[in-house]
């Protein structure tokens, strides 16, 4: 009896927990279809107009409403965010992966120190990182804009990629690379044919992670973005003070769907790998 009560309480608690976690996201999804032009928190019937608006199609709802911001500015910030995140993910994945390889495969002086340096940006408060990057850019004369945002994001996302790829490398038997060399493959061939395929899930994971973090970052970007290079999070933050455009719900919904898609692809890639991982384990010793 007591046991059943306990179980019911536990499931009730779990349910509440997930409601708390996901209800706000659900609300955004629902209100992205809200047809009320004046107050986006009051339901005014179903409408796809906000979606039409962000894709630049004419529609009655958005045209009848006057907001301070234009939809073009909103879309422009989304484009900035996407291109910054793409370039950042690319650069930090390459540098992070190469750094992880260097620290895992070679022995050199101050190795532990370098490893610690790589962990530092992750532990540094965003505000500190943001202000120091700002001072740095201003001092050496790099204009604030897309380039400064990309450099800034790379400076800490390299660490994330490094950690993800390092974990993967740590699980890889170094004898595999020796076996490849033993069979006559030069170091570049070994990297292409053995090492890279083995750590690829980690590399892809690191790339997705850095893309999402770059897309999402507000604090650091707030310091180092210029006037005409606003990213989406910075734009939304600014909008809170000036009145929120209902299109934001539609954009948020699309971003959530895109994230889900990326996560699903990531999971699929991870699940395709177990045969290889099992083989690694059963080799033992």
């Amino acid at each position: 009896m007591m046991r059943r009560l306990g179980q019911n309480l536990l499931s009730g608690y779990s349910l509440l927990f997930f409601v708390f976690l996901y209800l706000p996201i659900g609300l955004i999804f629902v209100y992205s279809f809200n047809g009320n032009p004046l107050n986006m928190m009051i339901w005014g019937g179903f409408s796809l107009d906000w979606y039409r608006s962000i894709f630049g199609m004419a529609n009655s709802l958005a045209d009848n409403v006057q907001y301070i911001e234009s939809t073009d500015q909103l879309l422009g910030s989304l484009r900035t965010s996407l291109s910054v995140a793409l370039i950042t993910a690319l650069i930090s994945t390459v540098i992070g992966t190469l750094t992880a390889l260097a620290l895992a495969r070679f022995r050199f002086r101050l190795q532990g120190f370098y490893r610690m340096l790589l962990f530092m940006p992750m532990m540094m408060p965003d505000v500190v990182l943001g202000i120091s990057l700002l001072i740095f850019f201003v001092n050496i004369g790099i204009p604030l804009g897309k380039v400064s945002i990309i450099i800034g994001h790379c400076s800490f996302l390299v660490s994330y990629v490094f950690i993800v790829v390092s974990a993967r490398l740590a699980g890889m038997d170094t004898r595999l690379e020796e076996a490849s060399a033993d069979l006559g493959a030069n170091p570049w061939y070994t990297f292409r044919r053995i090492t890279l395929p083995m750590i690829l899930p980690g590399v892809i994971g690191g790339a997705l992670l850095s893309f999402i973090i770059s897309m999402d970052d507000l604090v650091i970007t707030y310091f180092i973005s210029g006037v005409d290079s606003t990213t989406l999070p910075v734009y939304i933050y600014g909008m809170i003070r000036r009145g929120i455009k209902p299109e934001i719900n539609a954009i948020a919904t699309l971003l959530i769907l895109a994230s889900l898609l990326i996560a699903a692809v990531g999971l699929y890639l991870r699940n395709r790998q177990p045969a290889a991982l099992k083989a690694e384990d059963s080799h033992g010793s």
Binding site: D173, R175, L176, E178, A179, S180, A181, D182, L183, G184, A185, N186, P187, Y189, I194, P197, M198, A275, A276, L277, K278, A279, E280, S282, H283, G284, S285
Partner: protein, 372 residues
């Protein structure tokens, strides 16, 4: 004999130091000389940490020698990277590439050298056939048993016909039964292929059954190199005697000599009788008696035989043989193995009985020096 021809590998005065994390230098190889002839099966045998794996990795190129020369097929190899050496290795952990199929694993050495697909497939098929794994090309290594992975690793290492095959304790992960059948197969494969094998193991039985020659290593030094029988019957020192086979070792001083025999007194007072050989009066030596050299009755003339007497402590039947443990009045423990035929004499082997163990005096092997 074939290995007196030009050697496949020649190592001279190889030295390799390691530095422990505490900063102490450890000599993994301390002046090792070794040469391996064509078509020869050489085993590096020793306890863990004796330098055998270091020596193997120096040949394959994964360790650099601090000093000494390494010549493979007449070419100096000290500065040649592993991927340019005509040597292939079967790793202890097999090290199969988990993301490649069995066929691609075995064909890797050919793929690297740009052998066309068609020829590669034929040769991969042949290599897999040789190790009894034909038709499994499409499988992933992760789906194979330990024994099968072992065979694939072997096929991968021989597919390109290296001058020399290195095997790093390849059988240690297999169960006893599988290990014994793999030992026979490896030996057969070696004579079919006609390539030299250098085999590393810490299992003395494995070394004795498979090798043309055994190199016993300890503490970075070669203790003895020789044919298995020679190493077993005439160990060069106390370490080899103790490491290979069961042994009764007596520290003794020569007390009486005549034309043919010498009588010795051990440090605790046992009397032993051996062939005179080069022995001088009062010389300090060690005497080795293998357990199977003992008999319950004198098998020949009492002149050429001697005995040790003591009290039986324990007798264990191990199938075919009885293992007898006896203690002499002087306190030495003597281990003996007596055969089936002695079953009629079983009551003599009961614990507490007084027993006389006979041995042929020329069978006792004398090792120089009393130091151990």
């Amino acid at each position: 004999m074939s290995h007196t021809n030009t050697p496949v590998v020649e190592i001279k005065a190889a030295v390799k130091h390691y530095r422990t994390p505490e900063g102490q230098a450890v000599r993994a190889l301390d002046g090792v000389d070794l040469s391996v002839g064509a078509n020869e099966f050489v085993t590096l045998l020793g306890p863990s940490g004796c330098g055998k794996t270091t020596l193997l990795r120096a040949i394959s190129g994964f360790e650099q020698l601090d000093s000494g020369s390494l010549i493979i097929q007449g070419q100096p190899m000290n500065d040649v990277p592993p991927y340019q050496r005509p040597v292939n290795t079967v790793f202890q952990s097999y090290a199969l590439f988990p993301h490649l199929s069995v066929g691609d694993n075995v064909g890797y050495a050919l793929e690297v050298r740009g052998v066309p697909r068609k020829e590669r497939d034929t040769r991969v098929g042949e290599a897999l056939e040789m190790v009894g794994m034909g038709g499994l090309q499409k499988r992933k290594p992760g789906l194979l048993s330990g024994g099968q992975q072992q065979r694939v690793a072997l096929a991968r290492a021989i597919v390109n016909r290296p001058a020399l095959l290195l095997l790093d304790e390849p059988l240690s992960a297999l169960d006893r039964h599988l290990r014994q059948s793999m030992q026979r197969e490896l030996k057969k494969l070696q004579s079919e292929l006609g390539i030299a094998f250098v085999f590393v193991t810490h299992d003395q039985e494995e070394a004795l059954t498979m090798s043309d020659r055994i190199v016993v290593l300890n503490g970075g030094h070669v203790q003895q190199i020789g044919r298995p029988e020679a190493i077993y019957d005439r160990p060069a020192n106390a370490f080899v005697a103790g490491f290979i086979g069961e042994s009764n070792l007596f520290k003794a001083r020569v007390s009486v000599v005549d034309d043919q025999h010498a009588e010795l007194v051990s440090d605790v007072g046992d009397t032993l009788r051996v062939r005179r050989g080069e022995l001088q009066l009062n010389q300090q030596v060690q005497v080795l008696l293998r357990p199977e050299q003992f008999h319950l009755d004198c098998p020949g003339s009492s002149d050429s035989h001697a005995w040790l007497e003591g009290v039986v402590e324990q007798t264990v039947f191990v199938g075919k043989d009885f293992e007898v443990s006896m203690r002499t009045p002087q306190g030495s423990q003597v281990k003996a193995v007596v055969r089936d035929a002695a079953r009629q004499a079983l009551q003599r082997l009961h614990a507490g009985e007084t027993l006389r163990l006979w041995y042929a005096s020329q069978a006792a092997h004398v090792l120089a020096g009393g130091a151990r």
